[in-house]
């Protein structure tokens, strides 16, 4: 297996982008990634998208993107793994390059969520859970993570204020991210007094509906070094994917996401790294509790200690382990299929030293954690400066 690097990145604004269709967004970030990569020929495309069918009545997006990029007749594939679609599409692109099958692969994650009213969007999102045995009892995504939050608070004595610290930090970071959906600063009180969505989670504990696209181009590392463009290739040092039960009720433990621990273990092993070696991480904070569980399951903090660690500022940009300097899903937005790829884009910027106001000092090793549904699919990717 060849070593693989990220050579090109592209990302649109994230938010309620009324004037742009899904096609516009996907083409925009793809072109940016291809141009910035310096490759002359793209061999294959992977598209990460959760629900083109229910949001914009469009399946078969992979073909459309190849078509509208003028890249006929290369192979193009759409990958769906709920909110981990981007990360899984990225992993497939990695495999296609690592195996020697292709030399330049484009990965684009895209989601257009605001062409439908919110209740329709909530209904679409619920399809990432177990429709028959969770959906019909009336559960929503905030509800699923609220079930986790309630158990976490019960077992570890964590408070709503500690959960709120995640949202406050991520908004603060997002306010310096020009592409982010939110630029407003919020306080702990704003978060705990916000409208309840699913007790104990309120409006600010939840990531928003967002439109957006993000793209990367992958090449074998040795060929990447020969490219004439100045942008530093960033090596994919470790990558892994894992699965857990679809229904939350069937998990052995509601506060530990086994798909995260499994994927993390494999990725660390492949990269020959441990949690202490990670300088910066973009983790899947679809809800505040999700970031807390993630930083524990990824090995940055002991189980049950993530809430206080966040409250104590250990995950700020200048903290012990900066988490979500981009603003995370909460601050920058969560266009479902795009998120996993956007995390890679943000980490590459960090590792190339191009993150400007959000730059983590001496970032050499970064970790991306992308989670689908209530934890049924997880990808963990470790990137490294070479």
């Amino acid at each position: 297996m060849r070593e693989v690097a990220v050579v090109g990145i592209g990302i649109t604004n994230f938010g309620y982008l009324w004037e742009k269709s899904w096609r516009d967004l996907a083409v925009e970030s793809s072109l940016e990634a291809i141009k910035s990569s310096g490759v002359s020929k793209v061999d294959s495309i992977y598209v990460g998208n959760f629900s083109g069918g229910t949001f914009v009545e469009q399946e078969h997006m992979a073909a459309i993107l190849a078509d509208y990029l003028g890249l006929l007749h290369i192979p193009s594939t759409r990958i769906e793994n709920a909110c981990a679609s981007g990360g899984v599409a990225f992993r497939h692109a990695y495999m296609e390059v690592a195996s020697g099958m292709s030399d330049a692969v484009l990965v684009t994650g895209v989601e257009k969520m605001t062409d439908v009213v919110t209740s329709q969007g909530v209904y679409s999102l619920s399809m990432a859970a177990d429709r028959e045995y969770e959906g019909y009892e009336g559960i929503t995504f905030p509800g699923l993570f609220a079930l986790v939050a309630r158990k976490y608070m019960n077992d570890f004595g964590a408070t709503r204020k500690q959960l709120a610290a995640v949202a406050v930090k991520n908004h603060k970071n997002a306010s310096k991210n020009p592409k982010a959906q939110f630029h407003n600063i919020i306080t702990i009180d704003d978060v705990i007094n916000a409208m309840v969505i699913a007790d104990p989670l309120g409006l600010y504990d939840c990531s928003p509906m967002t439109d957006g696209a993000a793209s990367v181009v992958l090449m074998p590392l040795d060929k990447a070094r020969q490219l004439s463009n100045a942008a530093k290739p960033i090596k994919i040092a470790g990558i892994a994917q894992a699965t857990d039960t679809i229904a939350l009720a069937q998990r052995d433990d509601f506060v530990t996401f086994k798909a995260t621990t499994e994927a993390a273990q494999k990725a660390y092993k492949m990269a020959n790294k441990s949690p202490q070696d990670i300088n910066v991480a973009e983790v899947h904070d679809c809800f505040t509790i999700a970031e807390i569980c993630a930083i524990e399951d990824l090995g940055f903090f002991e189980k049950g200690k993530g809430a206080k660690a966040t409250e104590d500022g250990l995950t700020e940009i200048d903290g012990k382990i900066p988490i979500n300097p981009s603003g995370g899903l909460k601050g920058k937005g969560h266009p479902v299929g795009a998120t996993g790829v956007a995390q890679i884009v943000n980490l590459v910027e960090q590792l190339r030293g191009e993150a400007k106001e959000l730059q983590v000092k001496n970032a050499k090793v970064g970790l991306a954690h992308n989670l689908g549904g209530s934890g049924a699919t997880v990808t963990v990717t470790i990137l490294e400066v070479v």
Binding site: Y123, E137, G138, A146, V148, V196, I197, D199, L248, A249
Partner: protein, 131 residues
């Protein structure tokens, strides 16, 4: 989405509250499956689930999905039945302050969903706190 066959097919689960039990390792599940998730045996028997259980965790949903707005706010919990099977159930007829981890519940038969004014009515299990 008017989807009759898919709901009609769920009668063993929704009407009769049937689940599965692995004859080799004893793992109990809802719904039943072809392969035991614990020991991978295909020796699964269909069982009637007990109607009593305990709340493992819960939430109160305020922002409801399409079709559930009339019921909101409502409680949803993960319940472990007395035979070990775990599933998600809406909690009804219970003051929100009386819903806690560890409370005992019994299963009741209610409307799960109504497809508008002219569509089908889907019935199934929910639960209420009994202590």
């Amino acid at each position: 989405m008017l989807t009759i066959p898919r709901n009609w097919r769920e009668k063993p689960q929704r009407y009769l509250f049937k689940g599965g039990k692995c004859k080799d390792c004893g793992y109990t599940m809802y719904p039943t499956r072809k392969v035991c998730p614990k020991c991978h045996s295909e020796n699964i028997e269909i069982v009637d689930l007990p109607r009593d259980g305990t709340i493992l965790t819960y939430t109160i949903v305020y922002s409801a999905p399409e079709g559930y707005e009339d019921f909101a706010p409502y409680a949803v919990a993960i319940v472990e039945m007395t035979n070990g099977a775990r599933l998600m159930l809406q909690i009804v007829d219970t003051d929100f302050n009386d819903i806690k981890i560890g409370k005992k519940v019994e299963v009741v038969f209610r409307r799960l969903f109504v497809e508008g004014k002219a569509g089908i009515i889907i019935y199934g299990p929910k639960a209420r706190v009994i202590d």
